[in-house]
């Protein structure tokens, strides 16, 4: 068995919340409270749970948008949580993130070409403007968009199109690990299906490993190989997706699964 691409051990991310009272101590929110998991190359692991369970904080900690309180996260054998920010910067190319809100995740003042060009120049992946434009065009085609849109601004696009652009920004640097934080939650059902198919297709084609964070169990089943269920900052159950969905062991997983409203019962009844 090969070494895992990412290996997280006993990760904790706590936040201190200032309390207004004079004599009350600051409250500590244990958003992520000791979780461990591995992601193999080319594998899709989903983190699923309800709001406030800490699943998004895991993603933000692994991309160093939040500071970890303790724990180790080894990416290709290097601990990415402890290294100085300057040392982590080149690694950002390998660990990319797709965000939830397609309206907020693109800078409204930059054209699509400049947004997609930024990581290319930072990581020196294009030697000239022409090469950058060519790569941007190719990547836009990859996500199902017309390369001609690169001179336009984000407000000219719909939510689904913006999310495609967000995916293009991630794919353009050819990362090894993509963290998708509620990547399709803000989209309408018909558009969500398109984007979900796109993500799955790109993942299959390129063999990128993925940490897929979502509250939607249907989406999670559709995209992942393995699933980890989070509750109050901890992983309560982790396993192969068929085990989780067909033979859940933990009571919370069972509760989650039984709470989902289904259309299927009607279809089978008739």
């Amino acid at each position: 068995m090969s070494a895992p691409l990412l290996s997280v051990r006993d990760l904790k991310t706590h936040f201190t919340v200032k309390q207004p009272g004079l004599f009350s101590d600051d409250r500590i929110v244990r958003a992520v409270d000791g979780i461990s998991f591995d992601i193999e190359p080319g594998e899709v692991l989903s983190l699923v749970g309800e709001s406030g369970c800490g699943k998004s904080t895991v993603g933000r900690t692994l991309t160093r948008l939040e500071e970890a309180t303790s724990g180790v996260a080894e990416f290709e054998g290097q601990d990415i949580l402890q290294m100085p920010p300057a040392a982590f910067r080149p690694l950002r190319r390998d660990i990319q993130m797709i965000f939830q809100d397609p309206f907020a995740s693109l800078n409204p003042r930059l054209t699509i070409a400049r947004t997609l060009g930024e990581p290319l120049f930072i990581h020196k992946l294009a030697k000239s403007r022409e090469e950058a434009r060519r790569k941007i065009g190719e990547t836009l085609e990859l996500v199902g968009m017309d390369p001609a849109v690169m001179s336009r601004y984000p407000h000219e696009f719909s939510g689904g199109q913006r999310q495609r652009i967000g995916i293009a920004r991630v794919m353009i640097v050819e990362p090894k690990l993509v963290i998708a934080d509620e990547a399709v939650s803000a989209l309408d059902v018909s558009i969500q299906a398109q984007v979900l198919n796109l993500i799955k297709r790109l993942q299959r084609k390129s063999g990128i490993a993925m940490l897929f964070i979502s509250h939607d169990l249907g989406v999670v089943r559709h995209i992942s190989d393995r699933v980890a269920v989070m509750f109050k900052g901890q992983i309560v159950e982790m396993g192969d997706k068929h085990q989780i969905f067909e033979a859940p062991k933990h009571a919370y997983t069972q509760e989650l699964l039984s709470a989902i409203p289904r259309v299927a019962s009607h279809r089978e009844a008739v």
């Binding site: 018909s190 558009i191 299906a193 398109q194 198919n197 249907g218 989902i260 409203p261 009844a269």
Partner: protein
């Protein structure tokens, strides 16, 4: 006579000096004690329809441009404002999507329920407060005696939505309009709230119009369903009938777009294209640019209503063929 009858309702938004139609002639009815689900994606006009029925379009750039809304046999559009207000909150009540912001943050929740009670009933402050506590108990808020004096920010999202339900049901309404009541809630909380609504409906005999983007929620809670697309009802039917014989490509596409939890699907059959903006003009059937089976006739003519079954209708030129 149905409790609520909407007949050829048209709604438009005033934008930059022109009226853009958002609801383009829809009709449906709700009987006493019945639950109607209206489902559709953002911008289809479902929320504006609910606001129009409730009478909450005043002071917005949105107005009703045609059609009738009859409630208990009365034409709501003919009533004056005072008569209209007498119905709001008493015989017809509404709950909204955002439980976090739908209650006034500066008043105690008990006082907000009391306000609704005393607006419509001759009841003393003390009796109204006692009734508010009863109502909180009814919606399963623990320790209602204490919680009646809580402020909204001291409660969770699910609890606030229960408070909203308690307030809406305080005057025993005949009709409850619920606009995406569980969209902002987690699935486990959503289940509790939906169960509560179903339970109360059974006990009180309230009719419900449930607006949702989630076909699963609709399928589990509604007696009949209307599927809206771009301001029109694409397909309407009793719930079981609808899922048994999908008679509109949009309903089928919507259903196939949902990733299900109970079995593996390799690729979702997504609807291609995107939801058209309200300022775009589409000739013929509004769905034709995204429809896999669109023919010339779909690009030219707007489809009429086709009857598939007793109460099953579809606005598709190929409605009969679509249904298996």
């Amino acid at each position: 006579m149905p409790l609520l009858e909407v007949d050829n309702l048209e709604i438009a938004i005033a934008m930059r000096g022109q009226l853009l139609p958002v609801v383009r002639g829809i009709s449906f009815s709700v009987d006493e004690g019945e639950t109607l689900g209206i489902v559709g994606e953002s911008g289809c006009g479902k929320s504006l329809t609910s606001l129009a029925i409730m009478g909450l379009l005043d002071g917005t750039p949105v107005r009703i441009t045609g059609g009738d809304i009859r409630f208990e046999g009365q034409d709501l559009r003919q009533l004056n404002r005072r008569e209209r207000r007498a119905i709001m909150g008493s015989r017809m009540a509404m709950i909204f999507q955002e439980p976090m912001t739908s209650l006034n943050p500066v008043y105690r929740i008990g006082d907000q329920i009391v306000e609704n009670l005393r607006q419509h009933q001759k009841i003393s402050q003390k009796a109204a407060r006692a009734r508010a506590i009863e109502l909180l108990e009814l919606v399963r808020i623990p320790e209602p005696q204490q919680r009646v004096d809580s402020y909204p920010h001291q409660m969770s999202g699910g609890q606030r939505q229960r408070v909203m339900i308690a307030m809406a049901l305080s005057c025993d309404p005949k009709l409850l309009i619920a606009d995406e009541p569980t969209t902002a809630l987690d699935v486990t909380v959503q289940k509790e709230v939906l169960d509560l609504m179903a339970d109360l409906q059974e006990r009180m005999g309230t009719a419900i119009v449930l607006i949702s983007h989630d076909l699963g929620v609709i399928a589990e809670t509604c007696d009949k369903v209307a599927v809206m697309y771009r301001g029109k009802i694409a397909e309407a039917a009793p719930t079981d009938d609808l899922f048994a014989r999908l008679a509109h490509p949009y309903t089928r596409g919507l259903l196939n777009s949902i990733p299900v939890v109970d079995r593996d699907v390799e690729w979702l059959e997504a609807i291609p294209g995107r939801v058209p903006g309200i300022d775009e003009d589409i000739e013929g059937c509004a769905f034709h640019p995204r429809c896999p089976r669109a023919q010339d006739i779909c690009r030219r003519n707007e489809p009429k209503q086709h009857r598939i079954g007793n109460e099953h209708t579809s606005h598709c030129h190929f409605a009969e063929e679509a249904a298996p």
